[in-house]
Symmetry: C2
Subunit: 421 residues, 2 copies
Amino acid sequence: MAIVVMKFGGTSVADIGRIRSVARHVKREIDAKNQVAVVVSAMAGHTNQLVAWVREASLIHDAREYDAVVASGEQITAGLLAIVLQSMGIPARSWQGWQIPILTDAAHGAARIIDIKADELKARLAQGEVAVVTGFQGLEPKRNRISTLGRGGSDTSAVALAIALGADVCDIYTDVDGVYTTDPRIVPSARRLPRISYEEMLEMASLGSKVLQTRSVELAMVHRMRTRVLSSFTDPEALQPVRSGSEWQNIGTIVCDEEEIVESQVVSGIAYAKDEAKVTIMNVADKPGVAAAIFGPLAEANINVDMIVQNLSADGKYTDVTFTVNASDLPKTLEVLKNAREQIGYSEIKSSADVVKVSVIGVGMRSHAGVAAKMFKALAEKGINILAITTSEIKISVLIDAAYAELAVRTLHTLFGLDKD
Amino acid sequence: MAIVVMKFGGTSVADIGRIRSVARHVKREIDAKNQVAVVVSAMAGHTNQLVAWVREASLIHDAREYDAVVASGEQITAGLLAIVLQSMGIPARSWQGWQIPILTDAAHGAARIIDIKADELKARLAQGEVAVVTGFQGLEPKRNRISTLGRGGSDTSAVALAIALGADVCDIYTDVDGVYTTDPRIVPSARRLPRISYEEMLEMASLGSKVLQTRSVELAMVHRMRTRVLSSFTDPEALQPVRSGSEWQNIGTIVCDEEEIVESQVVSGIAYAKDEAKVTIMNVADKPGVAAAIFGPLAEANINVDMIVQNLSADGKYTDVTFTVNASDLPKTLEVLKNAREQIGYSEIKSSADVVKVSVIGVGMRSHAGVAAKMFKALAEKGINILAITTSEIKISVLIDAAYAELAVRTLHTLFGLDKD
């Protein structure tokens, strides 16, 4: 007997037929005497319609009202799934964020979960009732208003609920069957990873893999909540129910502690992100304070700067500074820099969105030197120019021309032995 | 300065364009320094979609889950209207039933409002903030679940809120411009009634006029809440804002105390209801207890019986009993009677849905005799056969063949001087 949290995203609950399939996944766990809480997203496309209405009402709008409108989508799927489960003879009830409650801060539209009062849920789960919980939303208690966690927030809801319930696992059902060494659409020889460490998954998520939302991985990592990614499109009866302990069917990807991964490779995966833009500020004075003059105003405008490269000054007086921002922030970035021209002092600004960031990720890098050198050499041999580099303990990212993205990913995938046998 | 509750139905909030028009109606009242609470329905068609999903999920379903799903429609319009109002510079916030809260009993799907905790609402209204309230729904406090009041429940929400706020008027904006002496689609010479008494409106509502929901009129009558029916399609700026006291623009229909109606006629309106079905039980024993044998099982099956006629027995031994039920209850009625054949003892059952109930309504009947006689004579002169009759202090209803419905309504409309000049 285990406590299981199962999360189903928008494509997994897109219509009543899909919701019935979700119910069969739940039934498998209930039949195995597991205690089950299900977290659901809105039907695919529904949230987009709600957001479109809000924008049509007013482009500038109260985030609290936005939240009240868009949170309605999950409310619908939660009720519908509860009804389908009941029709299959499984006791179930729907829970909205404010009913549990899932308490959040007041950052409407991107709220953070502060606490989940799970006592009643726990008691009902123990009695065999399935809790169908609306993902993506909570209650801001001071003003008694619905809050939402931002796009992809249902993953975070699921992990947070799993932690509050002391669940054995948080199963994230999605439209892919696990986490891959890289995007299989680009590299057909990409392999599903049976296990991946929290740290690696976090890098993958922040570096462009869309399988899990970054915040949900952070949360799972901090609380050591074992999280599994698997496909809701798998035949529900073909999966084995969750069992307490360490036996796991070789299906999906388990995100877990490094120690639980027996055979780990130096490099676990190659990620790439297309939504980068490069900005170069030409001929700024090469003196203390110039970085503050550039990045201060950007920070104030809430623009995240990722990679930064400062060229060596030829004459000791002037230099060029290159950095990357999210492509959607590029227009705002250029405006901020234009307004700060006097303080910064530069001759010209160049920018391009035709760049991608390719990253090599693996906890094994901690103990294996030479990964970076091997990577740079392989890229050079293919004639790929590196525009910028950032590294952390377990990843190396390079910025390259977008035209070389696929070549780079394939080259590195083979280089680090990730291709399927 | 007045306190005004404004209610807008589904066609009045069908899209963002219509919601903007609603906001202009609200602005007119706010500009006149009135305090405003707005009650909104779901966008037209939206609730039907939600109900269809629930039925697709399971024909037999938990009413609490049904309520959780269908209540989402009002949540959307309330948020959208709040956003539009804010974009016009009017302070506003949306309130869902559970946030106020509007407390109801546990009869999910057809709940009754028990109490509205309106203190915070009152305080915010006094500060000039518009409260945009979801109609049709409330909170069942014992289980902390969303309840709905049943179809048309938003009228009831509006009247109940007006009572809780001590409003000067409850303005019901709809797609017609008031209450008419009869259906203008049938009788083009029908007139808008500037005023109608609660009692008459209640009869009109229960006898087939769909302008106001019966329960909302009952509530308004008990609490003497002045309720006005007017069109949301009228140019918002063409209406005068509400003023405290007795000055009222001659627009819409005011539902109010009999005493407030200066020139009242004997008959105020002609209603007709098409959804009647007639059942005749042939040759039942003419002895005590037979009525109980017939109507007991029907009551147990929750079937409302309206008109009842028992023929005079020719031989003192056997008689026929005729009664009417709602047409949608006819199949169930016939089944119940078939099952009770032994207890009742009858030769045959005849039924027909080709009947209509035509009613003449007016508080003036209390003091004027002869209305019934005049009515029966006029119908007889047109060759219209009366199948059954029921009366109350202020109305006379007759059941006739459906083919004569329009002729009867037109004849009576002219007979009682209701035609336009």
